[in-house]
């Protein structure tokens, strides 16, 4: 076997099946099983990362036909730079998360067999890798369903709670509605490519070569986009995300949010840019507008949450929105033939894809560590964790800064690139776009600001202050494998933030094949690796490295000024305004922090706020206790999902009236049917 990227990728997939077999062989020793299984998974993921990086840097495309599958349609595999990039994303985060899982799974307790987690965890990664490698509709859909099925069982891991089963069911339903739409889209494309007489149309190669009429191309695109949007959690198809992510084990949430949603992004890019090829501008506008809605609404919903993992799940909606903004802009620019701008927007979207995988993976790992230590998901029951878990606090802070798009970390780079795509946009011929582009830039800015506010809340409420809960458990710092997993993710957040040119140069290859133009960010100059210059240096450029140096210098000066002179910092009691009865409840908490934003954007939510005073018997002016109850609900559930569910039940109830249990009635049904059919046919 010759060593090539695709062979390496296949080898890593085969290697991922080994832990599944290990579960059958060594069941009696959970410790050995856990360490071996997750080490192997980490190694295999790392290999697929290498395979992806190799493809991306060499720019070659490997193809392979496996002798399995249908007789007329064996599995076609293909590893081009685009697939290589996503292979890299999946491999890298799966590598970190697998290391993390060595420690994390230990804490899940002995109630449930961990073999179930190991089996589906590995099959889940296999599914994602196969989706990316697939080069025909059949193998793509098989891998897609494999991924959905495995993740369903992972969501259902703690299946003794009703809400977990409900969340898993909701996830499965939406995943299958999406898969059905994708199946139909591929069917349309195959039918246009070669007709339905043979199976050749189902390979992506023949779809690439086919020319689509505008109507059929639109049908295929709308179906495919709907299907992938259901998986990616684009508003209004996002409802499963905040249900499924919190109940899954945290290492699984990290993978689901970090990379599984990205397979949907991969699907959108693959279908629009690669398979369909040319498109009208309004497709891009559709993607852009839905991306903007998801970004703004996602972050607003996130702000209202006080469940740590649910909040992160809503942030996934926001970040998918930001990625889609980049991709939508790329589509708009491509259809107007501004190829360099399209390359910039596409690179921004893809860069954010990798970044989101890194920092969201990191944040979910951190949240897993916190939830594991405190046995609590409600932020208002936490506080002051920085004293007990300093390592986790630092890594979590890195994730918070990255997701808030602050320099010098990676989130800033990709959001900055997206902004550049907005701001450097040439005047577009469509009048609607002249309106949407500046509005989009403004909404993206709003999103960034709200995300920053949200993560001030998350970090502040969880790690700072005092413990807010009632009875405080003994909190340990996390074990070393978990720390290493989070540390690696934090390091890559920093590296992607300070040396973005390396990755942008690699992504140039994808941009060239997809939109037909390169960006050439580092064409000339001696220190060109330091400066990220999308267009001309006089327009805009950014150097993460210099920003980092600036930050380090500022912090050092501040440290020198305040810490070296002893006696300048004193620790004392909190000033209590003379009240003298301060307790742990008298702190800022998640609900109070988000209150101003709730007041401003309250009309987006279904809010029910109840305040009840318990007056003292002797004097009603001095209440004994105050009860505050807040419920914030997603309006989309009431707007879209509830009517559909109610309609389904209503129709079923009406149909149920046919079933009266009377034999005569059933006989009359068949009698009338026969008579009508005879009368109509003859």
């Amino acid at each position: 076997m010759i060593l090539s990227p695709i062979n390496l990728a296949i080898f890593s997939i085969v290697l991922l099946f080994v832990p599944v077999l290990l579960c059958a062989l060594i069941r009696q020793n959970p410790l050995v099983l856990r360490v071996m299984a997750f080490s192997l998974a980490a190694f295999a993921s790392f290999l697929s990362f290498i395979a992806g990086l190799w493809t991306l840097s060499s720019g070659v495309t490997n193809q392979l036909i496996l002798p399995i599958g249908l007789p007329a349609l064996p599995f076609h595999l293909r590893l081009d730079p685009l697939a290589g990039f996503f292979l890299m994303v999946v491999g890298l985060l799966a590598f970190f998360v697998s290391i993390y899982s060595i420690g994390y799974v230990q804490g899940l307790g002995t109630k449930r067999p961990i073999s179930r987690l190991i089996v589906f965890y590995n099959l889940f990664i296999v599914g994602m890798l196969c989706v990316i490698l697939a080069d025909d509709a059949l193998s793509f859909l098989i891998a897609w369903e494999f991924m959905a099925g495995a993740s369903y069982f992972l969501v259902l891991f703690e299946d003794e709670h009703v809400e977990n089963r409900r969340a898993a069911f909701l996830y499965l339903v939406i995943a299958h509605i999406g898969a059905m739409a994708i199946l139909l889209a591929f069917g349309v494309m195959a039918g246009v490519a070669t007709g339905f007489g043979n199976f050749d149309g189902y390979t992506f190669d023949s779809m690439r070569q086919a020319t689509f009429s505008p109507q059929w191309a639109t049908v295929a695109f709308v179906l495919a986009f709907f299907g992938f949007a259901a998986k990616a959690g684009v508003i209004p198809l996002h409802v499963w995300l905040p249900e499924a992510h919190p109940v899954a084990p945290s290492n699984v949430s990290a993978l689901m949010s970090g990379v599984m949603l990205k397979t949907a992004i991969y699907g959108i890019v693959r279908v629009t840019f690669d398979l369909l090829g040319s498109f009208p501008w309004w497709w891009g506008a559709l993607v852009l507008v839905l991306g903007l809605i998801s970004a703004v609404m996602g972050v607003l919903y996130a702000l209202m949450q006080h469940d740590l993992k649910k909040l992160l799940a809503y942030h996934s909606v926001e970040n998918i929105g930001i990625i889609l903004i980049g991709i939508g802009l790329a589509m708009i620019f491509t259809s107007f033939k501004f190829t360099t701008m399209a390359a910039l927007a596409l690179i921004a979207g893809l860069y954010h894809t990798l970044n989101h995988a890194m920092f969201k993976g990191l944040l979910f790992m951190g949240a897993g560590a916190v939830v594991h230590a405190t046995h609590e998901r409600n932020m208002d029951e936490m506080g002051g964790l920085i004293h007990h878990m300093p390592w986790t606090a630092v890594f979590f802070l890195v994730g918070c800064i990255s997701i808030s798009a602050l320099p010098p970390f990676n989130g800033f780079v990709s959001e900055w690139l997206t902004f550049q795509a907005f701001l450097l946009s040439p005047s577009l011929p469509a009048p609607l776009m002249k309106l949407i582009i500046p509005l989009g830039a403004a909404l993206l800015a709003l999103t960034g600001a709200l995300a920053a506010a949200c993560f001030v809340k998350v970090f502040g409420v969880t790690f700072l202050g005092h413990w807010r809960g009632h009875n405080r458990p003994h909190i340990y710092e996390t074990c070393w494998p978990m720390r290493i997993g989070m540390m690696l993710a934090a390091m890559s957040c920093l590296l992607l933030g300070i040396v973005p040119t390396f990755l942008v140069n690699l992504l140039d290859g994808i941009a060239e094949t997809m939109v037909g133009s390169k960006l050439n960010v580092a064409a000339s100059g001696t220190y060109n690796w330091m400066w990220l210059t999308p267009m001309q240096p006089e327009r805009a450029s950014y150097s993460g490295f210099i920003v980092l140096i600036g930050i380090i210098i500022t912090i050092s000066i501040a440290y020198l000024l305040f810490h070296l002179k002893s006696g300048k910092i004193q620790r004392g009691d909190i000033w209590d305004c003379g009240f003298e009865k301060l307790n742990h409840n008298m702190q800022y908490n998640a609900i109070s922090f988000s209150m101003p934003i709730r007041r401003i954007f309250g009309f987006y939510f279904n809010i029910r706020e109840r305040v009840r005073l318990m007056p003292q018997l002797t004097s009603p002016a001095f209440p004994l206790k105050l009860y505050y109850n807040l419920r914030v609900r997603d309006r989309f559930w009431g707007w879209i999902y509830k009517p559909i569910i109610e309609a389904a039940f209503g129709i079923s109830r009406q149909m149920g009236k046919l079933q009266q249990g009377q034999i005569h009635l059933y006989l009359i049904y068949s009698f009338v049917t026969i008579i009508v059919l005879l009368a109509v046919v003859l």
Binding site: Q662, F671, L678
Partner: protein
Amino acid sequence: MSLKILEQVNSFLAALVLLTAFAMLAQRRINALIHVFMWQGLFLSISTAIVGFIANKHHLYLSSVLTLSLKVIVLPYILHVLIVRLKIRKEVETIVNIPMTMLLGIGLVIFSYHLTRPIMELSTFITRSTLSVALATVMIGLLMMITRKKAITQVIGFLAMENGLFLAATSATYGMPFVVELGVALDVLIAAFIFGIFLFHINTTFDSLDVNQMARLKEDI
């Protein structure tokens, strides 16, 4: 005898089958109903034999004998035993009153003549005129199943329907292949046994043979 006369005889027998079907619709006593059913079987078996003679298909004679033994002797005997065992002495209970059912039956006959007219114009078989009668018999059998309350009358309705189908098969295509007819005959016999067992069970479960009682089996939503 010439073919012409035989054809007339066959049409006459078919008319008698239809007449017995109406007689079944009109009949109020279960014992008499079984007798009418016997007569229908007899006419059917003679008609089959005549068709066999006209078309020179020898296996139709066997079918004829099979029909005679099953539908004139065995099934009426089984039904009779059932009536005695289940102590059914009452009249036939109907949902729609009898004149109304007769009118519906007449409507069905007209409908089936209307339906089979294009077939009769195309067909070259001399038995083609009986096809509409056969179709009418099937529909009247179904009508009987719908309008009767007691399970046993529904069984008879079902068997009458089967008679109609048999007549349709002989008149439209000079009979099915013999293997198929054997199979059908066996099916009918087994159906009769199953109905018998079933009726016993219905009777013991609900203390009645009224199928309206079976609505209690339905799950509540």
